[in-house]
Symmetry: C2
Subunit: 514 residues, 2 copies
Amino acid sequence: MKESTRRRARRRERRSGSPPGSLKPLINQLPLVTVLSDEGVRIIHQASMRLLKEQGVMVLDFPPARETFREHGAQVEDDLVRIDEDTLMHFVRQAPASFTQLARKHDNNVQIGGNHMVFAPVYGPPFVSDLDGGRRRASIEDFRNFVRMAYLCPHMHHSGGTLVEPNDVDVRERHLDMLLAHITLSDKAFMGSVTHADNARDTVTLARILLGADAIEENPAAISIINASSPLRFDDRMLGALEVYARARQAVIVTPFIIAGAMSPSSVAATLAQQNAEALFGICYAQMLNSGTPCVYGSFLANIDMKSGAPCFGTGENALALYATAQMARHYSLPYRSGGNLTAARTPGAQAGYESAATMLPTVQAGTNFVLHAAGWLEGGLISSYEKFILDAEMCGMLVRMVGGITLSDEDFAWDAFDEVGPGNHFLGSEHTMRHYTTAFYQQTVFSMDNYELWEEKGSPDSYKLANSRWKQMLKEYEPPTLDEAIAEEMQAFVAQRRNELRDRKPRTEWRTS
Amino acid sequence: MKESTRRRARRRERRSGSPPGSLKPLINQLPLVTVLSDEGVRIIHQASMRLLKEQGVMVLDFPPARETFREHGAQVEDDLVRIDEDTLMHFVRQAPASFTQLARKHDNNVQIGGNHMVFAPVYGPPFVSDLDGGRRRASIEDFRNFVRMAYLCPHMHHSGGTLVEPNDVDVRERHLDMLLAHITLSDKAFMGSVTHADNARDTVTLARILLGADAIEENPAAISIINASSPLRFDDRMLGALEVYARARQAVIVTPFIIAGAMSPSSVAATLAQQNAEALFGICYAQMLNSGTPCVYGSFLANIDMKSGAPCFGTGENALALYATAQMARHYSLPYRSGGNLTAARTPGAQAGYESAATMLPTVQAGTNFVLHAAGWLEGGLISSYEKFILDAEMCGMLVRMVGGITLSDEDFAWDAFDEVGPGNHFLGSEHTMRHYTTAFYQQTVFSMDNYELWEEKGSPDSYKLANSRWKQMLKEYEPPTLDEAIAEEMQAFVAQRRNELRDRKPRTEWRTS
């Protein structure tokens, strides 16, 4: 191997093995997969418009939203808001097609929209599990561990949000501890709290302290999940948080939460129409509040198991819906959130693998811009699993290679290798292989290709066991990124003030950023 | 629920839960996934033509093939056959775009080509494994068990070929026992033997006895894998079998067997060009022997793990190659074989699940017409696993739903359900749900949606354990399909004659079918 070749190979290796916290943007080079014709997209759009005009959306316990809709031309009758296509689309069109979310490390800013993809970890589970201890209620230390793992994982572009529910912290203060963990233990972008309008305000205040009020007005520093309470319903908790974020111009992911067959009819078409109505309704509201607010068209869509009533993941129906929803989002030029490594399984075994891959591959092929639950999700979102995080990250790594597509340069065709090797001989030692062997193919970190004998010698470890060793190793090696001391102190002071207010049940005082 | 509705629902249920041995053709309704532009396809085609003209293909120990190529205008020099684009394509174009393979039960005939897909079980492993006994050398009884399972599985459209290597039968006679098992224990279409030209002749003779000499000349009754001994090499064993099948007008799947990085250069582009050259070369030869012989463009393509030298499955590189190869096959209007539920894992755990799904989903989305290894494959093809067969079949069932696409009728939009339920309420009890609940979504057989508590009560079974119960249940319930007695007797007489010849090392006598 020539010296110049080796240098080039080393440079390439360095680029692919990113150091912790330094991100390589993930850009999908592939043609996006579609399952609907243009006419199909139009039909679903029309069905949604009919639902919004005829059925309407229930706006629960939040009169200001009903008032806003009325002021902007919607029909409001008790809880129900009915809106026509022209009014709705006038506002939906004001949302940007793409935006940048700021991270505290500039290199870790993420682009959300276009052909960019952002992988973020699991969100929401009350439980954690690992091979050693099985399932247990999650703690704030578990939360911090998942922040650390996402920070170290080159395939996670985002620190995520509620990685687990830290049950050992008072529910009123929990959001503060979660936000502090994201901000101090990682330098990747993070998600905002949505459990109360005041929690959203706290998120915005911390983001202002961290990055500056002007900066985060220009580009959002928080991105937050606003769930519809499907079917065709939003409540005060979610709309309250949405209002805070929209007024502060922070990004929201408006996500109908649908188990088809229960929260929507038992068909993909009707579910798509309902989901589309709900997502557009929420996005419309954000634009009414503050035109240009970055909004992501979100989808969380599983289908029901008619036997148990539980959600199913990785099914053909779910994949179809995921692809079709991406087409709807693109139809409105909106960034799209969906998918992840989803499974109903309770342990990271075969079922978890099949279901996760059968969700994650469509997620990527659909051109999903923001992929929540990309690592760690188990038992229909009830468990954040340490091992599953590692296994899912491997899947993410393999898919990163896929979206790069196939390059067709002369070097790619390896003409010199054919000349060197000729018919009937192997290419292992060829110059071309030497030039490319470190980067030619994805290199697995936990999936093992050992032959049976070697594998038996090692104690027959399955991938569950190998993942167990891997996350322990990661946490052992973890070191936090440095944070400016003045910022750290101001954040701590603000959090202390808020803890006092919350403990004393006093109204929230707005923090004056220095 | 109205009576007419219930009747309709029952009819639909009967259709989806096919009785053993009665097949529903699988037709892919989705737009096929592409990863290459038309220009990309052209560039790979040109690269292949350059390889065939400049490098040539080594034809090992089989002078008749070299002679055939010479007669038809190729350049032959020692072992090497070089052929130009015009000559090659003249013959490749003679292969049909689609054909029917006969099964002994007429309803089980399979269409190979167009947007039809055929799932066939695992092929080739010397070992079997199950949860109870682990890995062991396979026997003829294991072989029969896999025939029985494929027969009973509604998602297997084909009985396959060498489901396992029956090591307890003398290698000379093995093919006879395997063919008899396929023919007597199942009524699905099967694959021919390729280990020796005489074994191919025996396959053809058995097919003639079973279905008649004229019938199988019109539509093939055997389909057989002809592997290139990559790179750019074919040997006498495979070309000898190919010759027998082509002259008898039986279908062949010409399949380069490539671990990229070893049997091809370390790049997807070069591997595609080489694979394309090899596949077209074999198909060209079949057409030179007998114009119009049904040929499938085959691909078995993994990439090497540079650390261990073992093949990797389910990677992004493999998926890209699988989609691209489908585009090449379509470019030549040839049916396409690839993919399956492939994995390097040694047990049906998480790694097996991810890798299998990440191969099988692209397999289906690429529009693969003949899917070998759709169920049972483990450890890079060294193990046929009883449990993996069951788990893979579940994956196949989910994908069957996906390729059906999304229908957009008024009934699909469930307008009455929205009117009945209204915003904020669930759809579980609605009339529309009642009309569709048995068929709306795929119903899993081994993947479990049980909640954690119920699952613990059942003894915390993972999918490996559930699959173990399932295959035992299937084999317990198995009953063979009836076979015409005269046919059965003639087959036994022929097989007895061949056993004697093989044991006495006498030359093969052609059987005169009655």
